[in-house]
């Protein structure tokens, strides 16, 4: 069992990051981005394009299509600007370098409608770290949770799994 004698990929410094709340980011939800996102997916429901249709269907304005939770405010003067809520830097690294990254999966839980005009505060934290060996060799599986709030009320929670190998 040579594998078991290897130093774990997950260092104590990494483990200490689990559950630590990241700095909140502001996510804007606007009509133009909703239309662009819906068009990119290929949605045909008019509620994503036509505000009158959205209101007739009972929404406050254009609703977010599934998977869209607002756009972070781009500001080139801020480090890591524009690449989502997790712009706090890479954080502690594994004991051996892992060069490749795969998006493992996504889950979104919705607690309320999110519509154009909403401004959300998103805060992410590392929820889980796991190391495993698979077809790609040794892998580090990272689960991040992001909580989205509007006026102090949680409206969505997303869980994203990343695979480094």
């Amino acid at each position: 069992m040579a594998e078991a004698e290897k130093t774990p990929l997950i260092t104590p410094e990494m483990q200490a990051q689990v559950g630590v709340e990241g700095r909140g980011s502001t996510m804007e939800v606007d009509k133009t981005m909703i239309r662009l996102f819906a068009r990119a997916v290929g949605h045909t429901d008019p509620v994503y394009y036509d505000e009158a249709a959205a209101k007739a269907a009972g929404y406050r304005s254009l609703p977010c299509p599934p998977g869209y939770l607002g756009t972070p405010i781009f500001n080139p003067s801020r480090a890591g600007a524009g690449r989502g809520p997790a712009d706090a830097g890479p954080g502690p690294q594994p004991s051996r370098p892992l060069r490749r990254v795969l998006n493992g999966g996504t889950e979104i839980e919705y607690l309320d409608d999110i519509c154009a005009g909403d401004v959300l505060i998103s805060a992410s934290h590392l929820a889980n770290l796991e190391e495993t060996a698979g077809s790609l060799g040794e892998m580090l599986i990272t689960t991040n949770k992001t909580v989205y709030q509007r006026d102090g009320k949680v409206v969505a929670i997303s869980t994203n799994t990343g695979i480094r190998y």
Partner: protein
Amino acid sequence: MGAKWADVTVGMNIPELKKNCSTQQLVLWAAGSGDFYQIHYDQDFAKGTGLPSIIVHGALKNGFLGQLVHDWVGNEGRIKKYGCSYRGMDMPNQDIVCKGVVTKKYEENGEKLVDLEIWTEAPDGRKTTPGYATVKLP
């Protein structure tokens, strides 16, 4: 018009959604999602990382599954939760067929709910993006 809870039965399939991404759609998605990783639009870059060609964004397939479920649920119901895993690659200009089947029908906290198994299927039959959803129906 969306699905009605009374009409749903466990084991029933929901209407399929067929997609076939042009490279242009991938660029549109890059702009819409903010994911500008070059493996999705730069053939040389993609091959340089060992991929056979540019590949479809996982999150776009997540968006397709969202459309699959939304189009079935309509606007009187709501998606309460949905997710998927990115298990296999899909390429542009190949069919990606989104499918779903009802796995559970129940009431909870006064809401009429349905659980679904959802997935995308590549031309060779591989389920490249298996997932699940919980929806509320009228």
